[in-house]
Each structure stands twice: as structure tokens, then as C-alpha cells.
Symmetry: C2
Subunit: 344 residues, 2 copies
């Protein structure tokens, strides 16, 4: 049982806190209870959480032996006994300067993470692509993620002017935070940043994470207002077309979905060795007719995180990046098309 | 795409039916619709069911090409095209004599399967242990399953006298049927048996299965009314004790739960290399004190399928089979105890 897989229980100074720390990311939360004798102990995190889940809904007594670190967890007539570890072996969370910060409500933070996290890179070859860029500029937070095939950009309005700074936050940290956040709109999260760390504080919980060092990609130069073809379409309708089309693709498969755009709307087509799919959908088109191919899963990922009823798709030609964005550019998704051969 | 993995669609004689058949087990169901041109076609079952799930909630048109077996499945503006197979290659369900039979309502059948299926053997070394014995005796159906460690016996009262016969039904067949049954108490299932087959008929569906040949185990001689110790305990309470105890066992682990029975109730104890668990539970005891060990998962399996609030456990000694049964013996579960060393 390595100490990194433990939860530290601290019952000191009239406060009970639980802390986990894997050196990249640390989470600490304060819980209410009675301290009979102050002390600290580290317990295997997974085991401890399973125990707590299985206990009756009643007061729990935790007793640790100072010399052999044996821990008894008791609730009603049930007793668990496990071997813990010396709390002093545990690496405490780093202390963070609380100078630079912004606040955001839980709903917005949870939402903006979920709306961008899908387009970070999953392999660690490019460290920076595994994070998201958080840019504060006055009362605006802009969150950017990209993986070489697509870019996600979301803007969130903040309550106050918090100055101007930007940090690259690890995707893993953001996924974990998104799980813990209740997502309530009237509950605030305080976000402090230093050169190397970011700290999120909400409810009775503190999350501290290392930042990713380096310069983020300059995506601004890839964003353009120009387009040759614009399509406006019902999002739900388009999603169910894509859902049907992906039936004929397996994981390893790289078959594109081909979209034929004309005044009549759009025609989607996907051909794989399992079969072929075709569907016509009503859409509003301005500009030139166009035939363009996409990785259907990548397109779906974007559709899933847009809440609007109708979406706008802006295209230049079959090789240039396509943009899905709203009129105010509160969100911008860029997707690179794929080459295709026209099926018969 | 082997023909055994296909669904046969038959649109003939004014009736549309879907049939699947893996030679052990076959299922056929009739659906309503319009036949434009009669015919039959076989389509990959998994693919077909995924397509149907993804289609809009509207009429579906299925069109098969007689010469190349290309199938078009259309709904609203969506078209799927897949390659099917000649319907004549498909092995039809065997025709079954409808002389010997009984009827049972869907609720009872689904219930009796779920209450016994967990104690069939999972490896195929002993074919007979992979089935369940269905015994009809007048207006009583008795279902028995066993795996060498435990025996499950359930009795169900039938509406009529259906004579006297017994058959060994494959566990796989019963699991599949249990999934299809809606479980409604006012919907009847007709069950026909021949020497080699069993046929279940309900709603618009027919399930035909081979039977397992051979003589089932004579469990009667293992059942006894004698006991030295009897414990009556709240089932839910005991289940949550077992649930907590199993926290310290991993799959491969064979640690027993040791139960100490005395006038004060029962004390459960489980020690593994992960930790130890102890709990006291109130219980009503008659007869001798006893310390006995069980495979906790096997005991849990039984507790899960008993609906009664309190259960009776009958034991002779720490080596003899233990019985869990109700006063009327509508159910009897036998569990063989395991040896154990007394922990400190």
C-alpha cells in the first residue's frame, strides 16, 4: 500500500479533514464530527471509501493505534480493522499564494470543462495538448483545448474584472474537478493561480494542481470570419443522423461521413465494409454548394456539448477547417475535414 | 456472417415473423405490419437490432433483393443498406408435439428462474449440472438446480393438474427466457414438452429449446427435517452484514465467513490479508450453540433471492449441510459449510 494511494485523516485543531494527493493533484475536504483524541492516520483510499459506502447510515467511530497504525472503523455493531500508515509519511498539499484569482460559479465551471475536455490529446507525447488553456481577461474567461484535429473554445462571463493572466491546466485535474462539483449555479468557486499551481476552493473542499509549463498554441491565427458555405441545421436532427451513420463504423475504422450541401439541404452518406448509410436532412444553406467529409465521431463530440437548438456550420472548401459557432462566438469549435473518395 | 448469427425475416401467408436459432435454442416472434411482396431474408442479428434502435419512431420499410440479397431498411429519410443471406439457408425451428404441457403465469416463471438459476454449474464438464430440473406433479411445479456446493429448490402452485413428468432444461435457455418475459402476473405461458424439446409460448413469441438428456441427481435423500440449531434472523440485516464482510475478499480469495451462534444472537467474523471484519447481529436461536463457516458469496446468492422478511437457517453441525427454508418448504436452499480455523 503506497502512501500515494492513501487518504490522510487529520483530526487536529478542532477540525477533521480528509486529504488525497498524487503529487500532481491534491484534494482536501473538511468534515464535521467530534474529535475525542487528536491525531492523524493514513488509510488505503479505495478500501476506506468502500467501507464507508457499506456502513449503516449512522455515526462512525475511527480509532487509530499510534504505535502499530491499526485502525478500527466502527458503526453500530460492525467493526472493520485495517492496517494504516503513519500520517507523517503523507505529503501535505503545497501552500499556495492567494494573490491572483477569479471566481466562477459551480455550474459555469462544470459546464465549461465538459464542453471542452473532449478535445484534449489523450497521449502524453505533447504535454501541452493534454491541458486546457484558461485565459482570464477582465471579466471574461476563455477556455481552449485542442488535439491537432479540432479546437474547442468557450467564453464565460465572470462577475468581476480579475485582470489578465493565462494558465495551462492539466485535463486530468479538470476531469476530477468536474466530477466533484455539484454544479449549482448559486455556489461560487474561488480559483487561485500562481506560477506553478492552481487552487480551486468550493464548499468545504480545496483542489490543488500543478500547472503545465510552456507556451500554449496560438489558435487566434487559425480562426477566421470568412466562409464560402454556411449551413444552419437543427442540432438534435443532425445528431441522430450521425448516430445512425456511426452504426457502420467500428473503433479501428476511419470511414468518413460525406456531407453533400445544396439548396435542398444536406445529404449524408457513409459507406463501410459492413454496409452503407444515407440520409437527407432539411437545412438552411447560404453560399456555395459543397461536398465535404468528416470523422463522424469527432463531429458528434462537438454536437453533444452544444445546447442550442440550431447550429451554424461555416466552411470554406473541402480541405479547410470547418467552424461551428454561435453568432456571439461564445463558443467556437474548429474541425479539420478528412479527404474522401466519392462513393458510387 | 454465419447464418446462425442471423435473424430470419419471413413475410409470408399474411404474417411477418422474426426468428433466431442457434440450434440449441430458437426464438420466433410475430409482428404486425403490411406485406407488400411476400418473401424471406436473413440479416445479421446484431446489426439489425442496432439499426432498429437507432431509427426514428416511425414506420420502417424493409426491402430485399431476391438475387443478390441486398437489403434496404428505410425509415423517414434514413436508408441503411446491408448484405443479407438467402432465407432458405436458415434452419427453421423444429416442430414440436403439443401433447404434454403445463401453463404458468409470466410472473411466476420469471421469478422461479431467477430464484434458482444462480446455483447451476457454470463449467460444462457436467452437462446435467448446467440445467435445471423441472418437475410437474399434479398442480405443483418443482424447480431444482445444484452445482455441487449448494442446491436450490422452489415450488410453484399451478392452476390445474397437468399429470406427472420431469425434464432437464438448459440454464442458458432459462436465462434467455427470463430476459424476454415481461413478468406480468396476468399473462400466461404455455409450456409444451417432448422427449427432446421444451417449447414456451407467450405473447406473440415462441421459444424452443433442446432438453438436456440423462437422469438428474436424486436430491431428496440429501434433504432432512432434522437439525440441532435453528436461527431466525432478519434477512435484510443479514445481507448487509455479508455485504460488509465481503469487502475484504477479492475474486480469487476463499476466506470463509465464520458465524458464532449463541443465545445472544450471531457474531460474524471474516479475516483476510486486507483486514478483518466483525459484526454482531440480533437473532432468535433454538437448539445448540454452534460455530460454522460459509463461503460468503454463496450465502449472499441465496439471501438475494428470498423475498421473506425473516429467514430460518437450520444446521446440524459445522460439517453437515445447512438449510434455509420456509415453514411450508415452498423453497429450500441447501449450502455446504466450509472448514475454517478459528481466528484469534
Amino acid at each position: 500500500m503506497p502512501i500515494l494511494e492513501c487518504i490522510l485523516i487529520e483530526a487536529e485543531n478542532g477540525q477533521i479533514s480528509l486529504t488525497a494527493n498524487n503529487m500532481e493533484l491534491g484534494i482536501s475536504t473538511v468534515i464535521s464530527g467530534d474529535i475525542v483524541t487528536p491525531g492523524t492516520i493514513a488509510i488505503d483510499a479505495k478500501m476506506f471509501s468502500e467501507m464507508v459506502k457499506k456502513l449503516p447510515d449512522n455515526d462512525v467511530t475511527i480509532e487509530a493505534n499510534d504505535s502499530n497504525y491499526e485502525v478500527t472503523i466502527q458503526c453500530e455493531e460492525a467493526f472493520f480493522r485495517v492496517r494504516g500508515k503513519d500520517g507523517d509519511e503523507f505529503t501535505k498539499l503545497p501552500s499556495i499564494d492567494r494573490d491572483q484569482y477569479f471566481t466562477i460559479n459551480q455550474f459555469d465551471l462544470k459546464q465549461v470543462i465538459n464542453q471542452t475536455i473532449f478535445s484534449i490529446a489523450t497521449n502524453e507525447n505533447n504535454k501541452i495538448m493534454c491541458g486546457e488553456l484558461f485565459e482570464v481577461n477582465g471579466n471574461n474567461l476563455r477556455v481552449t483545448s485542442l488535439d491537432g484535429y479540432r479546437i474547442s473554445i468557450r467564453n464565460v462571463e465572470l462577475k468581476d474584472d480579475y485582470g489578465k493572466f493565462k494558465k495551462i491546466v492539466p485535463g486530468k485535474t479538470l476531469s476530477e474537478i468536474s466530477k466533484i462539483l455539484t454544479g449549482e449555479a448559486d455556489s461560487e468557486v474561488l480559483v487561485y493561480v500562481t506560477n506553478n499551481h492552481i487552487l480551486f476552493e468550493f464548499d468545504d473542499t480545496v483542489v490543488v494542481s500543478r500547472l503545465i509549463e510552456g507556451e500554449y498554441f496560438h489558435v487566434e491565427q487559425m480562426l477566421t470570419g470568412d466562409y464560402a458555405t454556411k449551413v444552419t441545421i437543427n442540432k438534435r436532427k443532425l445528431m441522430s443522423c450521425f448516430d445512425r451513420a456511426t452504426l457502420f463504423i467500428r473503433e479501428s475504422d476511419k470511414k468518413p461521413i460525406i456531407i453533400d450541401i445544396s439548396d435542398e439541404g444536406i445529404d449524408l452518406k457513409l459507406v463501410s465494409n459492413m454496409g452503407s448509410f444515407e440520409e437527407h436532412a432539411v437545412a438552411e444553406k447560404t453560399g456555395k454548394d459543397l461536398t465535404i467529409g468528416f470523422n463522424p465521431r469527432f463531429f458528434m463530440d462537438i454536437l453533444k456539448v452544444i445546447d442550442e437548438e440550431d447550429i451554424n456550420i461555416y466552411m470554406m472548401n473541402s480541405k479547410a477547417p470547418c467552424f461551428i459557432k454561435d453568432a456571439e462566438a461564445t463558443y467556437t469549435y474548429l474541425l479539420i475535414p478528412v479527404s474522401f473518395s466519392v462513393p458510387e
